[in-house]
């Protein structure tokens, strides 16, 4: 059997390639957050924590579907409301990236903006849950990453920095990954291997982020 056909193995490698770099980014950026309690850094850092959590849940969910006889899988499969949490964790990283780039604009209403955002994401997850789709999740995520890509690129144009362009490229890659993901679900579901392009783009984006963090915060 070719590796490409070994779906559980690919899922495992893919999950590891997202979870571990995300955790590394979280740990590194948490250190600089502790150095100076900077709100933007906190949102950025937490985006990667939720990235790692959401991909861990995704992997557990995948395993539970593949090996549906285990007790863990029964808990997951027979408690479908966990899907609400599953979707919420997928939506949160995009929102945290968005907050890290825009929190200054909210001024003293920053906390309110955060609360409203989380409530909105929860409602999105609820609506998807009751309509048995992930449609709103894709739409909201594509919207969030479109804004994140635009804002990060505009920031780079306003103030060109060494890694600013690479950062906005990573944001665009995450946007592309969500668009491709959406396509695999609703439009281009007959194209083989499209799912692997999504994996590749996602891993590339996270590794670029890790590269930026490591380059700037070397020996912090």
């Amino acid at each position: 059997m070719a590796i490409i056909d070994n779906f559980p193995l690919i899922e495992f490698i893919y999950s590891c390639l997202i979870i571990f770099p995300s955790l590394l980014i979280y740990i590194k950026t948490k250190k600089i957050y502790n150095f100076k309690k900077h709100t933007g850094v906190r949102y950025f850092s937490k985006a990667f924590l939720f990235f790692a959590i959401s991909f861990s849940i995704r992997f557990i969910y995948f395993i539970s579907q593949s090996y549906s006889e285990s007790s863990l899988s029964k808990i997951i499969l027979y408690n479908n409301y966990l899907l609400i949490l599953f979707e919420l964790f997928f939506l949160v990283p995009g929102f945290y990236f968005f907050m890290s780039l825009t929190y200054k604009k909210f001024g003293r209403y920053r906390r309110l903006a955060w609360c409203l955002g989380i409530v909105f994401l929860f409602l999105v997850s609820l609506v998807d849950y009751f309509t048995y789709t992930f449609l709103l999740m894709y739409i909201v995520s594509i919207g969030l990453f479109s804004m994140n890509s635009f804002i990060s690129y505009r920031n780079y144009q306003k103030k060109p920095t060494k890694y600013g362009q690479i950062y906005s490229t990573a944001m665009v890659l995450l946007l592309i990954s969500w668009i491709l993901n959406f396509s695999t679900q609703y439009i281009l579901d007959k194209i083989p291997f499209l799912r692997y392009y999504v994996y590749f783009v996602n891993v590339l984006a996270v590794l670029i982020m890790l590269f930026i963090v490591n380059k700037i915060l070397d020996n912090f």
């Binding site: 600089i32 920031n155 103030k159 915060l217």
Partner: protein
């Protein structure tokens, strides 16, 4: 003029000392820090307590401040932090 945060004031004080070959007289530091003498005393006492600078007196009982290894490390981390925040537009 934008009000400096406490963190930035500490960075400015440490940088003033570093630029002056790692040691500086109190009056000169007060002048370069742009603080009132009351605030200055408060900051200096904090910096000495946290080990970012040391107060050294010479044989004529004239004192000056020296930046410590910890102070230099703070400046290095501050510079990394700034680079990170400005590169990512946070």
């Amino acid at each position: 003029m934008k009000k400096r945060e406490r963190f930035d004031v500490i960075k400015d004080i440490l940088e003033s000392i570093k630029k002056n070959n790692g040691k500086i007289k109190p009056t000169r530091l007060l002048y370069s820090s742009n603080l009132s003498s009351l605030m200055f005393k408060d900051y200096i006492s904090d910096l000495v307590k946290t080990g970012l600078i040391t107060e050294v007196s010479n044989s004529k009982n004239k004192k000056h401040y020296e930046i410590t290894e910890k102070g230099n490390d703070f400046l290095r981390k501050y510079s990394m932090f700034n680079e990170f925040v400005s590169n990512l537009g946070l």
